[in-house]
């Protein structure tokens, strides 16, 4: 699949962060991703290098990645 192939999901997806993130970006990720429709939980663990996103309603993974790109948080796709 390509980077922007539609990929809706429900449940929890763990994204691996591409490099360290600062506190500012961590806050931005929490507020921006948390506001996406369907997202019920968003945990960025800077030390472990992971971002957990839980959705109860279907949401497109490419939308999450677009928001992450926007706030400057790079993840492995």
């Amino acid at each position: 699949m390509m980077r922007d192939t539609p990929r809706t999901f429900v449940g929890t997806v763990v994204f691996l962060l591409d490099g360290p993130v600062c506190a500012h970006i961590t806050d931005a990720v929490h507020s921006e991703v948390g506001q996406l429709d369907g997202v019920t939980r968003c945990d960025l663990d800077a030390a472990a290098g992971t971002l957990l996103v839980t959705a109860q309603e279907p949401i497109d993974r490419t939308d999450v990645i677009a928001v992450l790109d926007m706030v400057g948080c790079r993840v492995h796709t």
């Binding site: 699949m1 390509m2 192939t5 990929r7 449940g11 997806v13 279907p58």
Partner: protein
Amino acid sequence: MGKSALLEDAVTAADDLTVLRTRGVESEAPLPFAALHRLLRPVLNRLDGLPAPQASALRAAFGESTDDVGDRHLVFLATLNLLSEVAGERPVVAVVDDAHWLDDASAAALLFASRRLEGEAVALLFAIRDDETGAFDSRDMTVLTVSGVDAGAAEALIADQLGATVAPHVRAELLEVTAGNPLGLLELTRALSADQLSGHARLPDRLPLTEGVERTFLDRYRRLPPPAQTLLLVAAADDSGRASTVSRAAHTLGAGTDAMDAAEESGLLAEDDGMLTLRHPLVRSAIYGAATGSKRRQVHRALADALAGTPQEDRRAWHLAASVDGPDDEVVGALDEAAERARRRGGHEAAAAAWTRAAELTLDPDTRARRLFWAAGSSVAAGHPIEADRLARAALMDATDPLLRADLVALQAQVEWNSGSLDDGYRLVCQAATIAAPHDSARARLLAMLAAALASFGARSGDAPDPTTIAPPPSADAPPEDRVAGWLLDGFSAVLRDDWVEAASALRRAWETPIAPDAPPMLHHNLAIATMHLGDDARAIRLHDLQLQHAREASAVNMVEHALTRGVVYRIATGAWSQAASYAQEAVLLDRNLGLEELVTLPLAELAVITALRGDPQASAHLHELERALEQHPPRGTITGLVGGLSRWAAARQLDITPATALHHYEQIELPVARGLTALDRIETAIRADRRDLAEEWLGELLAFAEGTDMAWAWAAVHHGRAVLGDGEVEENFRTALEWHARSSRLPARARTQLALGEFLRRNRRRSDARAPLRDALETFESLGASFWAERARQELRASGETARRGADLVATELTAQESQVAGLVRQGLSNKDVAGRLFISPRTVDFHLRNVYTKLGISSRTELAALTLDPD
């Protein structure tokens, strides 16, 4: 950066060679071995030249049979050997373009082959874009970085390809923007007007290269009529390149033959022999990226429908997955099937991806978590522990079923103790057992048994519960598997408390209770491992040889390695040193040939011990090799304690070492198994280093073990130790030790007691009494190839008045490890093909090593090789 043109050039120059070609395709990531299949398709008729298990594994991997691949190292090996087989006729150039987009399974197979083509007439050329972060790892390959073209070349290129002339300052700007990328230069030049090129009109604002080129493609795309745009979008979303599929899908979206013609006329798409090619990968990303999400989903749905009823089920499943905007049972079912197919074909990454995708579209949390659990299991099989851990963590967010949670935590534990921290792995197994306990006590007991086994090999954790308290003991009428798990749990726990009475009785009950062959592998595995704690060599060798046989039949590489290295430990004790060295060497080669370097310290430590015990002149070289490996790959997980103990033993047994230094090494051996193996050395060294206190302490430890277990080798060592310490009647202690030795299979220890007794008698002027034990000792040492001890026995014999014969001269050889391994197997009568299968190298590499062996030994045939004395057996 012109890489494809370079490959093209190489292929043209290779017209007298066999050329095989493939390329990575971004959208093929979920299709296991797709790129490899294209590469090898022209030579699959040569599969018969391969060992049968490899040939059928390759067929299964390519979906040409419905068999299970089993261990996918067989597929890798088949790739290697097929290339080698074809190269036997004519040299081969295998060309892989866009290697950064290879599907994971193909990449793994090709990397495996590329690192093992020593001595073969095969060239592998990979072209890779350095701005793509694919799974392709080009380490330890010869890399040619293609840089941009200079001004002169740019002028020539533009004139040659476009017939255009460009003003020098415009060309300089274009060169800077494109960093000299030839394709980018041409595309941007094409996009500019004649006035811009001649410098009469302003250039557009500077853009990043990719975006600039994409934009020129996109402009051309947007000028097309809507049906042609639809067709191009379908072609961009398609991953097969088949014109029929794309046309069929486009047709359902209202784009007919006119659309195809218009798309071709635009130059963005070309059709040749039923295959569609987009002008450039950037055409695909530009067009696809510009479409809305709902339009993309619509196109994927059309492609899925176009593939219905064709053999392209995997592609169809992935198009379906891209076509839905929420959970969907039909799609999940198709993905489940794709995952199962991938698993059977050895495409573990693809199986993990399909199960992960299926989970994302599953509404019920437990069902979703179960799919993530399967995905994690496939990631472990693919050798991606970090990915497996990440999937297990996601699953634990959802899973409520306690047994599923226990399975998930147990999987995380396995990842930890194999590739991370033994202690963390131990803590997680205890946690998994605790989660399972209220719901399934048999499962909890099995996990608790595993925890206790890890603890008995050195795992520690401050906050983990005592494994024996996690599950109640099995009832007397429980199935034998449950009772055996219970006894193993008791046995391992008793070992940890140095309670040898309990350990011996529980372990013996476990061993003596028959269990079904299809009982959990974990149970069989730990029954074999437990033999180490009692030093029950005969049972240990039997169980591990059985394991080795099963592993070889299944070509299960990791299990072969495990059975080999564990089997060596006991053979060191019994003196089957030639076989032990051969097993250890096979394991070293296997680890190195198959990229299991993190395991290599164990067989290296075993080789270092064997050569040190023999007093081999190569002993110090082996120790140095071990030390280097320990620096590069510090042992992790379950082998840590054993590697540490064996390394200390090898260091302490170097010939030029002082007793004080040797003692320092022995004092640091902690693992009970290693303490048992070195018991006699430790006591003798303590006495020589004037540390009677330590010798007594260690003798006490050994005595407690002997009293608890009643193992003959331990009693023999106790009496030998007493004699060395001068407790009671020395000769009587030595003779009692020999009586116990007669019941044990540890030949080296027996001969050492005979030597010590002989020395004692000779020093007490009983020269004729001394000769019998000395002769026995010498005979054993010579048969073991223990030159250091044999020489001591000879000196003692001479001092006791006997003219000892000189030992047989051995042929001195300087074969490399791989050469001596090949020579050893050929001497056993194996054909080159069988040797290749055994060592996981190609038959032609075997031939290459064998020719070196002949040259070094000055011989010219297998018969001569078989007749040589290379190593005492």
